[in-house]
Symmetry: D2
Subunit: 339 residues, 4 copies
């Protein structure tokens, strides 16, 4: 931590800061500059009871600046070679890319079965489908819930694909764990710390979506909540952030991909469906995600998007998805991956 | 809903849209423009099974634009005179302003008792304090939990102030309902719909904070989740949004105050402590909030902010808070309110 | 400057940084932490040829963090009592608030004369009107240009109010200087450094609007461009920033008001017309701006907004403006100002 | 245009809107909904003197929604096959990708000559270098100006590459036109309409950067300013937008690439150097840009970034740039392009 003193801080104020810092088990070094002094504090910033930011309310202090990032278990330093997570026959984080595809919401047995056939035929590695849907309006379709989970599991087993589904309520964890292979945390719950803690106590891989306004360092800390409870299998998912731009539903932040890969050993996947909200942009942004270094993709595919109960505009028709899978092959090879 | 067709949409495509729209119980009016046609759809946009946005994946369609706002129960049309919520001796939404004050987190009996005395002496109407703290890092102080609730309730009763505290986990609802007079939903849970639904089934007023990236229309819909479950007592709280500006912790969006008052009958309060993150800005922004039409304030007050376990830089010392309360009096009168 | 080294930086890398820093006339202090070292660099950060940020490309360096703000002449330290700028009979920055009002664009002699009468009658201190209009579309009305300037000056003289108008092109400076009392720089030119430098060589006060995505520190630096060329009369204007919120045209960032007043001796005014884009929000936000400590307001008033050639939705009718002026009086007194 | 009336608008109010709309040469269709009426206005939205938005201040009107995008000349409909711009031996917008590389700022003859050699050797198609630098601080290095232009031209001629440089001040246009092959407009001038108009009257291709907070539709309108003055050669450049994320200098918005290619016939290039601000992210984001469909890249390359006078952290060393050029080859082929 670096405590920056005000330009006119007195010697007494500086010494008071030194005492407070040392009381908190840091070592303090005062450096007198031309215009102001700073107090460099040496200690375990992440372990200390205090992060020292409260010193900003101490007389004479202008600012407190942290020096180190606050994540530990999610940090690449922990596992420089990167983590690979196995899910049934599929694998995420290795040389081979993982494509997770399926409808936004499970709407009926016929729909999820048709979707399962389509994504399997095109070469996807996992099947996704929402049973519990976080909808902005309480009056919108909220998902088929338990019944949907059963249908999803059945469809996945039939075509031989592990299944991924969203969990919103801690109350449903046991139910979802029973039916799904990967539990997804949606953007709106990216900082629902109660939910994250509880998921850290399950033994299923967690696909953690970045929140709409979650900074990358906060995103790492959200993963840290899960990891610190004992579940090592977290997959980070960039799905677009909220910005001033309204031409797209979200702004897919692909900068996040190489940066998260630098910072963390965890696999990183990208969801260009939510990231753009427009079906015609899904394929180019899926290719871009892989070129940027993503380990996989989350793609919404619906047998008939024009009658979808949610997120119609961003779901691909099976034929478009099959074309995307074909286009991914040479691109994956160009960046040293397989699919 | 207005369905905007592409410039080169064919007559067949237009007619297909008309049929789909009518199948969903809307009436369709085709209007042929100079360059393109639009299909105006008349029906209950909020009640219909579909919001029609999935039509954006239909051939020939460019865009689907909703015409009406999607909130109902939170709308001012429901209660043009506005809602006033009674909480013990306090009241929020009437002519008299409500000031809710206290520390960010309950840290000890001595601390919450000192805070209770200070805010009561200065004229606050309710006491706040966090027992469950949503912290970015799992390694930061997470609150005193159940023990903190007991201390908060005791301190509030002693000084005669109703108490407000945050609820994060549905699992804790019964416990929090037992000890608190108002349940607060924090910014990170503003779209935790499972939690909102469950709070809609309690009989306690809910202080709902806007999320860091929640649009005002989505904020209204979050309130709608609570209202639609039967709990009519929702207090909306503007607490700053996340923008590119880093000089302040958040960007307090006071535009929200008059706009929410126009749209909704619910009371609106403002939290300038989180909204700025800097103690010296709290008082001017508290005054500004009242001038903009807010019904009350949420102010963090700590007997000793320089040793606070969380959010030190934004908490007021008792003397500063007392000064703010004095400054609020003439300002409230200038805008036709009392305090 | 604080140079944060990577966790595994070698002693050679640290020493190389020390040499580079000392070559640039800073003194270097190495502080060895538990996990990594930092090099604290003492020197004139603002005067040095280099701001040292290029060190981020040096081997072993993780990050370079500036310690001081980079503005000098705009800083409050230069004139702790604050600056008051005289413009004809008006004054901005003192105890008395300054209200600048008038139409978005000058559209005709009749219109600007009617506007001048209305704002004078209601008690405004200056008349504003745009002759050169920065419009998003080249096909929109671009202003009456030179002819508009003449009409504005004439109307202002007749009613006895100094006039304020926008300058967009350095080429027009002489012309605008001839007719206007204050030159306004619009949000889109907030970082048009060529224009700012040239305005720094005029002897007219400059009303500098914050850009849509200008951080407050950058805003101060934009003022610094003008000040450093010799023109001491800069008025800072908060007019709303661009955020994800679409319910209002911009997000008026009133946090900026007390923060700029803390940082700078320059007067600060607020434009709630652009800041909200909605006429019904202009009055509450004008009151809020004054409560937050603004020295004045910029209000768009049009004799007939429903036929305005630009920005109709945010312009006040004369009667509404007169009501606002009445409401401002007690509010100004409540915060120790006059109007 | 769709004029949405308020829920309780009277029949008189609706008829008044109809009259106003028809006075402006639109045809009005009233559609009575369940809750409110809308007035659909048929006419040339882009050509009409008014865009009708001023109707939002008319009694009974809630909102005015445009139906069509406002760009014309930049629209893909004008040239569905896309535009290819020739610049000396180079070409931008065709099958072959164009890579523009060179230092952020021209610092000396030795530096620009070394950079020219390096980028030529690695296979770049154009040489870039800044002579006029838009710096946040007036105290930072502002570029070598005229002298730098001469050095850039000389270096480019020697290695046989066209040169690209930024223009900030209309006053310098003749000078820059004399020395450069492509004139670049920087992000801070993206809506400097005076400059854009003047550049529209030159005969040099314009590389137009998106502003930090410019919406894509506004970006198209900025291009429209140039095109409407008669210069058809505009190259759109995505260079990152300003968001809440601080881990990267900007948020490179690659969604913009396929969307601009859909909307417009103009070539689109990407600047991953400014888009990320971190040299280690430049290569992955360059690859991603091409995968997303960009026609070219703008890459900052400096012979010695650790001593650069500006933007050191984001400039590539020659060896890294050469590696990137090698990596681009198979990737370009994978998406059907050459380099």
């Amino acid at each position: 931590m670096i405590v920056v003193m005000k330009a006119h801080a007195t010697e007494e104020e500086i010494q008071a800061v030194v005492r407070m810092v040392e009381d908190l088990d840091y070592k303090a070094h005062v450096i007198s500059g031309i215009e102001r002094s700073v107090v460099a504090c040496v200690g375990d910033e992440r372990g200390a009871k205090h992060q020292l930011t409260h010193l900003e309310s101490v007389a004479g202090v202008e600012r407190v600046m942290p020096v180190v990032k606050s994540f530990k278990l999610a940090s690449r330093e922990v596992r420089p070679e990167g983590s690979t997570i196995r899910i049934g026959n599929a694998e995420i984080g290795g040389k081979r890319l993982a494509v997770i595809a399926g409808p936004c919401a499970i709407e009926s047995e016929a729909q999820i079965e048709a979707a399962a056939d389509a994504v399997k035929a095109a070469g996807a590695h996992m099947l996704r489908g929402g049973a519990f849907k976080p909808r902005t309006s309480p009056y919108s379709f909220q998902g088929m819930e338990g019944e949907g989970l059963v249908l999803l599991e059945k469809a996945g087993r039939r075509v031989g694909l592990p299944v991924v589904t969203e969990i919103m309520d801690p109350h449903d964890i046991d139910l979802v764990v029973e039916h799904a292979d990967v539990l997804q945390v949606g953007a709106r719950n990216a900082q629902n710390f109660s939910l994250l803690r509880r998921l850290g106590r399950t033994n299923k891989p967690i696909l953690l979506k970045r929140g709409m306004s979650t900074k990358l360092e906060e995103f790492m800390m959200a993963a840290e909540y899960i990891l610190s409870e004992g579940n090592p299998n977290v997959i980070l998912c960039e799905r677009g952030i909220r910005t001033f731009e309204t031409a797209t539903r979200n702004t897919l932040d692909l900068n996040a991909v190489p940066l998260l890969k630098e910072w963390s050993h965890l696999p990183v996947v990208v969801d260009p469906s939510h990231g753009t909200g427009i079906y015609s942009l899904v394929a180019p942004m899926a290719l871009a995600a892989i070129a940027a270094g993503a380990d996989g993709l989350l793609i919404e595919v619906h047998p008939k998007p024009e009658s979808a109960l949610s997120d119609g505009p961003q779901q691909l028709k099976p034929a478009r998805f099959a074309n995307l899978m074909k286009a991914l092959k040479p691109l994956a090879e160009a960046v040293g991956r397989t699919i």
